[in-house]
């Protein structure tokens, strides 16, 4: 299969990617502030992961989006509530106009509260929000790639609280059992969910041992250190094609990059007021121009 896509999306340096991440974090807090609704905490925590994925790791074609994505690496956001970071990264990488970010969660917008294909937003290939479904979808898409002889990879992202859903573990069995080794799943391991710490709400136990026992190739990664993220992706990619799906357990801080949002679950799903927005933006340099 021939592909016009480069080996990576862009040959970006760590500094360049960090610079993009700062702008994406600005977008996130501004979007959530703009509609006084949405989920900034997990979005900020996963910013480095998603920026690295879309601006360095994945081979993808933002200008010519197709649902099938033949010949492209695919990403599925399973924890759909962190839509602000997803939308910002999609817009900043060219899937749709950056200016459209201002419509987030507003009437007649393509940027629904949770991502959907229903409104035709380029870059989105599945609806998500009801948790636990994206790993199955990613496995199916990875199976389709194998059937098509397409060597590209499939990436999925999940919350750690999301792992309390039973379907995740059905998919964990299937991913290993069917040797879906063109899939790199990642868990946003921030230890927090809406009602509090994961360990208090419903402890997940030894996650590393669990995924390993299910037959996955497991690695851990610091998710808010861009150099570590890039290295982690390189390591994860090197483990594909070896008979096992790959799981990255990614340590992050909910609210990462905005000091008053870090350290608790409080900012999982609330919006900053005007003063809080100003405080947050002071911490996040505007690098690409606000929408």
């Amino acid at each position: 299969m021939t592909s016009p896509l480069p080996a990576t999306a862009k040959n970006t340096s760590v500094e360049e990617i960090q610079s993009i991440a700062s702008q994406v974090r600005r977008d996130i807090v501004r979007m959530v502030h703009g509609c006084q609704s949405g989920h900034p905490g997990g979005s900020l925590g996963c910013t480095d992961y998603l920026v690295a994925l879309y601006f360095h790791v994945m081979r993808h074609d933002a200008e010519n989006f197709t649902m099938d994505g033949i010949g492209e690496d695919l990403f599925f956001l399973s924890n759909g509530h962190i839509s602000p970071v997803f939308y910002s990264v999609l817009a900043r990488s060219g899937y749709f106009p950056v200016d459209e970010l201002k419509t987030f969660r507003k009437l007649n917008s393509r940027l629904q509260g949770h991502p959907t294909t229903h409104e035709g937003l380029p870059g989105v290939r599945i609806a998500s929000g009801s948790l636990g479904q994206g790993l199955s979808v990613g496995i199916g898409a990875a199976m389709a790639k194998k059937l098509n002889g397409d060597p590209s990879l499939v990436y999925t992202l999940h919350g750690d609280g999301e792992l309390q859903e039973g379907q995740i573990w059905e998919a964990a069995i299937a991913g290993a059992g069917k040797k879906v080794d063109n899939l790199i799943a990642t868990v946003d391991w921030n230890g927090r969910q809406i009602d509090g710490d994961v360990d208090d709400v419903m402890p997940l136990g030894d996650l590393h041992a669990k995924w390993k026992a299910f037959g996955w190739d497991v690695l851990e990664m610091q998710g808010n250190d861009m150099a570590a993220v890039l290295k982690g992706f390189d390591e994860a990619k090197s483990r594909t094609g070896k008979g096992k799906p790959v799981m990255i357990l990614m340590r992050t801080e909910m609210g990462s990059g905005v000091d008053f949002m870090e350290g608790s679950h409080a900012w999982h799903g609330i919006a900053p007021n005007d003063a809080q927005l100003a405080d947050a933006l002071k911490q996040l340099p505007e690098t690409l121009g606000d929408y």
Binding site: M67, D68, G69, I70, L74, F76, T116, T117, H118, R125, I126, A127, S128, G129, S130, G132, Q133, G134, L135, S136, V137, G138, I139, G140, A141, A142, M143, A144, K145, L147, N148, D150, G166, Q167, E170, A171, I173, A174, G177, K178
Partner: protein
């Protein structure tokens, strides 16, 4: 307005051609509709290599063995994990495949409703949800497996096409036809050996009702196994001088509004027959249409807010009021309301 009972003569209507001029349908054979699915799947698998089949540990029950044997690379055994199966099927469409999922109707709908709603229907994925062992005629396994709510669950989902074929041959035709329909489909069929009366070469068109027998006194709209009961009732009624029109509504959504309205306008009263709860089923769809467009006296042959139980299919259809005498009685009730 009361009309004299008709003679049962079969004049072609102006909206549809009857598929036969015989008042009695010969039983060609007795076969299960699930075997029609298995045969259809194999045939469409041979002609369209985009077709991929999933099964949740019921390959024999769904009659998917032949497909699995001939196309092992396109058959995915999902194990007993239906939620994951639905998600994988949604994912497989991304890449241009046409996945058919196979399991019992209960596990194809109620168990996985949110997966279907979000990952398939709302996401507009081209998944064919193929559901066997629907309704009371599952028989001895009892109410845990006898789903009677699935048509309602599925038809409420925006964009979902809902098809309930009436016999083996039609199930085979429908299984083949849905591959060419872009979008999610729910295809419902069953377990028991049942009279086969639809000719193998009879055209099947999604969304197009089939006029099986013309009549003038009452319109009987039926789906699935109960189409045969409706035809038997038609013959009983003819002996009593009542001319019943029997129309097979194999596609419940989108409903063939024109065919339903034309028949109801002609006969002036309606009976619906289905192996499903009265709430949410075929009759419910027809009642909505008639209430909006053409208020018409109507009776239902359906399960009335009850779970099923163990028994043979025929015993259960009798006990729960879905047998030929129940259709006849419903016709006689509705005729009094004209």
């Amino acid at each position: 307005m009361h009309r004299p009972y008709g003679s049962g003569s079969l004049q072609p209507s102006n909206h549809q051609q009857p598929i036969t001029n015989m008042t009695t349908y010969p039983v060609l054979d007795k076969k299960d509709t699930r075997s029609g699915f298995g045969e259809g799947l194999l045939e469409i698998g041979r002609s369209d290599d985009r077709v991929v089949a999933f099964c949740a540990d019921l390959t024999g029950s769904l009659k998917m063995d032949a497909f699995a044997k001939e196309f092992p690379e396109r058959f995915i055994q999902a194990g007993i994990s239906e939620a994951n199966m639905m998600g994988m099927a949604a994912g497989l469409t991304i890449g241009g495949k046409i996945p058919y999922t196979g399991t019992f109707a209960n596990f194809s709908t109620g168990r996985v409703y949110d997966q279907i709603r979000q990952s398939i229907a709302y996401s507009g994925k081209n998944v064919k949800i193929c559901a066997s062992h629907a309704g009371l005629t599952l028989g001895e396994d009892g109410a845990t497996h006898q789903i009677l709510e699935d048509i309602g669950l599925m038809k409420m989902l925006p964009g979902m096409t809902v098809i309930v074929p009436c016999d083996h041959n039609q199930t085979k035709q429908a299984t083949i036809a849905i591959a060419d329909h872009e979008g999610p489909v729910y295809l419902r069929f069953g377990r028991p050996k049942w009279p086969v009366f639809i000719a193998p070469d009879m055209p099947f068109e999604i969304g197009k009702a089939q006029l099986l027998s013309e009549g003038t006194d009452v319109s009987i709209f039926a789906c699935g196994h109960l189409v045969w009961k409706a035809l038997q009732a038609m013959e009983e009624l003819e002996k009593a001088g009542i001319s019943a029109e029997v129309i097979n509504i194999h596609t419940i959504k989108p409903l063939d509004n024109a065919a339903v309205l034309a028949s109801a306008r002609k006969t002036g009263c309606v009976v619906t027959c289905e192996e499903h709860q009265r709430n949410g089923g075929l009759g419910d769809s027809i009642a909505q249409l008639l209430a909006r467009e053409l208020p018409t006296p109507m009776e239902y042959v359906a399960v009335n807010d009850s779970f099923g139980e163990s028994g043979t299919p025929e015993q259960l259809l009798t006990k729960y009021g879905l047998d030929t005498p129940d259709v006849v009685a419903a016709v006689k009730r509705v005729l009094k309301r004209k």
